[in-house]
């Protein structure tokens, strides 16, 4: 049975580090997706994602709100992505080039705020969104996996969509009207 982020974090702290694998499994795809938007390259994004998970594990004891694991992980990943660019700059002996690369990647209109918006969802809603879209399960499969009726899944999705649209409108600086949402 799937546990909450908080429970997995507490298990890890209580001497069961293997449970960290469940958190990696849960967040590897949205984290990769978010990092691809930041660094613009799948290979670098995967490398940065792995590094972020390892650093998160090392710092797990410092995490004050275990229920906010995913938001905290995104913060770590943002720092790892920046370090990657600085390292590229050192290798190229040209800081300006690297800074331009970073600016290009972060200003390229990539949709990385989507994963940030997902991080802001209540955990039950976030779990359903991740299973439905990042694990690509059908609604029925999500219901079976979580042991809840199908109607609960569609209602949770409905609430999650509403919150995501609000959150995206704030982060992307647009009103959540139909045409603008379509052109995202």
């Amino acid at each position: 049975m799937d546990l909450t982020d908080k429970e997995y974090v507490e298990h890890c702290r209580d001497g069961h580090p293997e449970d960290f694998g469940r958190l990696v499994e849960r967040y590897q795809k949205p984290l990769f997706s978010w990092l691809t938007g930041r660094v613009g390259d799948g290979g670098q994004a995967e490398e940065a994602a792995q590094e972020s998970f390892v650093r998160a594990f090392r710092s797990l004891k410092k995490l004050r709100k275990p229920e906010s694991f995913y938001s905290w992980l995104l913060g770590i990943a943002g720092r790892v992505a920046k370090e990657q660019f600085r390292s590229a700059a050192r290798q190229q002996r040209d800081r300006e080039v690297a800074e331009t690369m970073m600016a290009d990647a972060t200003d390229s209109g990539e949709e990385y705020p989507l994963e940030e918006a997902i991080a802001a969802l209540p955990e039950s809603q976030r779990q359903v969104i991740l299973l439905r879209y990042y694990e690509r399960l059908s609604c029925q499969e999500v219901a079976t996996r979580l042991g809840v009726p199908l109607g609960t899944v569609t209602k949770t999705l409905s609430r999650a969509y509403a919150l995501l649209r609000q959150e995206l409108a704030v982060r992307e600086g647009v009103e959540p009207t139909v045409n603008q949402t379509q052109s995202l």
């Binding site: 499994e25 590897q28 290979g43 995967e46 994602a49 879209y133 690509r136 209602k155």
Partner: protein, 444 residues
């Protein structure tokens, strides 16, 4: 159905979960009510965006390498960990990252039924043997239309040849060829030629894969493939099985079968149209002596029964590849596709169109043979396209719909061509470009 009832049912409607009667009622209400329609479109748009993000990350699998690093850090003082014992005793040191990752995933299989653990062992051995490839040449057969995308499959089509050459060292280069399409990455740029109408597409940079060739590129990176298959099998509960077989020459073969689930819903239009959107049974055949992968078969699994869609029986490892392989001969009159449509002076007029409006505008422009206007919806506008679609008559256009397998939308259409033939199909159309204009992407 009133507005409140409609809104309660919007997600179920967008997910295709309503029964026929409720679906019809919901659709009828959406047709009549602009407010609910706007709400529905906003939800569908968000769903499409989420599905595209999930699709792009579908193959990501990093539990094994992350946990490997964590374990290594935790057990640094100990010279002999469970992991190091397994690696040392079974396969020796010096494995590639992918082979090591596969070995780590194997640990998870050791607690499972014996057949699954044995299957995983065979795969890991294959990963280790093939971890140091310098080049590979694959020649196989795929059920697909010769002119269609490299990743498209069609269970009803005859087999056509598909071939990949890949050089890993000293510099990554690759070429993929099927009867009507060739793609070449020569280390500097990535080019595809569609032979049916001499259309060219060029990315001015090297790439690991492009033009929907990822699935075959993954098979070529066999060591990684095996690691990914094991990780997916473990994470998603895919069933692994293994058997032994004696070949005609007396050599023993290990056969590993994986039942892979795509996760794409049954009612999704894109289901079974691509390797990645189909439920498949994948059969890997290894030589038991050398551990080398010798053949791969992929079967499409449908309620109606299985159909073999991919058969790879020729794999050459580390053979020299003729340098001419990396040169693509282009016809003199090749029509280059625009990579991204430019912003037009009246861009907003096009950017504000719905998918249905864009499809109608495209077909109407074809109908009056206004090729400048057609060019605003697709690139390039080739002589063959003009001949095929010029003077058409629109019979009907339906409501657009989405698929998890596609970032854009599909618009159902029925047209009568100038030669009298009637064509009924779905136009693939997308607007994920900086100009925000709908571009016809396929389905013609």
């Amino acid at each position: 159905m009133n507005c409140a009832e409609c809104r309660d049912n919007l997600v179920a409607c967008a997910e295709g979960l309503l029964d026929r009667e409720a679906m019809l009622e919901c659709r009828a209400h959406l047709k009549a009510c602009a407010g609910c329609r706007a709400e529905y479109q906003a939800i569908a748009s968000l769903q499409q965006r989420l599905a595209a993000r999930g699709q792009a990350a579908a193959e990501v699998s990093m539990v094994a390498p992350v946990m490997q690093r964590i374990r290594q850090e935790q057990f640094k003082p100990e010279r002999e960990t469970i992991m190091s014992k397994i690696l040392k005793h079974r396969w020796g040191f010096g494995l590639s990252a992918a082979a090591s990752a596969a070995a780590i995933v194997l640990i998870a299989f050791l607690g499972l039924p014996k057949t699954q653990a044995t299957a995983a062992e065979v795969m890991v051995r294959g990963a280790e043997v093939m971890a140091k490839l310098t080049s590979i040449h694959l020649r196989g057969q795929l059920r697909t239309y010769p002119q269609d995308n490299f990743g498209s499959i069609n269970a009803g089509s005859p087999f056509c040849t598909i071939e990949l050459w890949k050089q890993f060292e000293p510099e990554l280069k690759w070429r993929i060829e099927k009867p009507q399409r060739i793609a070449v990455m020569d280390g500097a740029s990535t080019v595809m030629l569609i032979k049916t109408d001499d259309t060219g597409v060029k990315f001015p940079h090297p790439s690991r894969s492009a033009f929907d060739t990822d699935w075959l590129q993954r098979i070529a990176n066999i060591s990684n493939t095996i690691s990914n298959e094991l990780s997916n099998a473990q994470a998603k509960g895919w069933k692994l099985d293994t058997t032994k077989e004696t070949a005609a020459d007396g050599r023993l073969k290990d056969i590993v079968t994986i039942m892979a689930k795509s996760g794409v819903p049954d009612n999704d239009y894109g289901r079974n149209n691509f390797i990645g959107t189909a439920d498949t049974r994948r059969v890997y055949r290894f030589d038991a002596g050398s551990g080398l992968l010798e053949a791969v078969e992929i079967y499409l699994v449908r309620p109606a029964g299985e159909v073999k869609i991919f058969d790879l029986s020729q794999i050459d490892y580390n053979q020299p590849i003729d340098p001419a392989t990396w040169k693509l001969e282009l016809p003199a009159d090749v029509s280059w596709a625009q990579l991204e449509p430019p912003k037009l002076p009246d861009n907003e007029k096009y950017a504000s169109m719905t998918a249905e409006q864009a499809a109608r505008a495209f077909f109407e422009a074809c109908s009056r043979e206004d090729w400048t206007e057609v060019g605003k919806f697709m690139s390039p506008v080739t002589a063959d396209l003009k001949k095929y679609l010029g003077g058409l008559e629109i019979i009907s256009l339906g409501d657009s719909f989405t698929s998890q397998a596609y970032v854009g939308r599909y618009v159902p259409y029925e047209i009568k061509l100038k030669n009298g033939d009637v064509k009924k199909y779905n136009l693939a159309i997308r607007k994920d470009n900086p100009a925000g204009r709908w571009q016809v992407d396929g389905g013609i």
